[in-house]
Symmetry: D2
Subunit: 146 residues, 4 copies
Amino acid sequence: MPKMTPDEIEDFMKKAFPQARMPTEIEELRDGFVRLRIGVTDRYLRPGGTVSGPALMAIADTAMYYLLLGMIGPVALALTTNLNINFLRAPKLADIIAEAEMLKLGKRLAVGQVTIYSDGSDGPVAHATVTYSIPSDAMRSAKPSE
Amino acid sequence: MPKMTPDEIEDFMKKAFPQARMPTEIEELRDGFVRLRIGVTDRYLRPGGTVSGPALMAIADTAMYYLLLGMIGPVALALTTNLNINFLRAPKLADIIAEAEMLKLGKRLAVGQVTIYSDGSDGPVAHATVTYSIPSDAMRSAKPSE
Amino acid sequence: MPKMTPDEIEDFMKKAFPQARMPTEIEELRDGFVRLRIGVTDRYLRPGGTVSGPALMAIADTAMYYLLLGMIGPVALALTTNLNINFLRAPKLADIIAEAEMLKLGKRLAVGQVTIYSDGSDGPVAHATVTYSIPSDAMRSAKPSE
Amino acid sequence: MPKMTPDEIEDFMKKAFPQARMPTEIEELRDGFVRLRIGVTDRYLRPGGTVSGPALMAIADTAMYYLLLGMIGPVALALTTNLNINFLRAPKLADIIAEAEMLKLGKRLAVGQVTIYSDGSDGPVAHATVTYSIPSDAMRSAKPSE
């Protein structure tokens, strides 16, 4: 059972990263899984009308962070240690859907995979695996921001 | 619909790679998916009784190759260009189950993910993404070995 | 010998990606190598005062693209197919230095590595390997914008 | 200054992994760097006469492990957590040279890159980045086997 609700995660993100403006919406959150919808706005565009590679990398990293927050609670200091992404198809000019699935939640490392789609399209536009390092006292102190 | 049956793939592998001795069995093959079972034998062991990392990497590479054979037919010259693997849990002394899923089958590159389990255990022991380069005439000439 | 000068690359980037505003400066360009300096501005900051992970990923991707432009000339349609990054140390609030080295420039794929530093610090803050897919007619038609 | 000599590393490997038979020779070992030579034997061959991809992955993993042993002393329980490899050129039928460089040696994670060559050839045949997880008490207890 998640340790934070979607609303708690979005509140936490706004306070912890006030300048981050990625327009995310949590569509589903359950143990080991989160689905985000990201509205496509001009700043993600590039010539040819596709969402840029760096935007997709930021989305993969964000989706995994949301999933980690949902599963261990508000740990601002969890850090990405590795991200591997394959770009598969050109995104369409539609909302981006990112689905993150936890592969392992250990004491020191969390590893997940993120599959990214254009809304309404067949086949993923990108697939990433992401590893986060978890601070050594996070598993003890983390709890929902009640 | 697969272009080769499990038996055709195993025959092809024996002829193309006679010295490869990985004891694989194709448990399921359908469009975009293959599941292999690999019997654990002494030569994969390492201290602590777990299947070695290099053996898991070879298994990930092999599972993706089997899936590619199933989808495009016998193309001996397809080459791995990138493999990224996360080791998640210590394998048990049980058969290894590898499930490969195609993420994109393009004209020049095929990208898939492989999730590797110990038979009977919860949670994967490793997860890999694998990219194969497809020879430029393979999509034209490849056909089942009828 | 590079096919584009630093000035030609920066002009090409401004025309091809007018909305990209990463403040890059090419410090050195030679066959198989480029060094970029990226001024740190507010929009890259995150809590704790470090350059964000997504900014480092964008820098790695950009450095490899600049190197590719320098080696094959203006090919707007080269696309990133894979990026793998390890985050090693927290960046300081200093300029970012990115050094890209070509590992292989083939007809279809270019693979390079990018090592990213904080100016004046010991040890890299991140290391990436990046693969670009090259359009099939690029090696014939590409030439400097004379 | 390395904590183990090449001879100590090779002795340690023979005792810790008696069934591993990779014919390695440490050509150079200094702080943050090791160069291995691996004699090519029949069991690494594949059709076309090249060293197999799985053999190159095992070599990358081994080179990084040797480097870690050299830098922190005999820690049998260090585990690979991530390996990313790009295959660049077909190896020749010549000895394999693997050069491992430490990118970061932290308390919990060690990240390095390994560049693999065919002896006498231009350009690497493969490039890998490898992450090892270090047991939490390894940095205290590790010392050379005096």
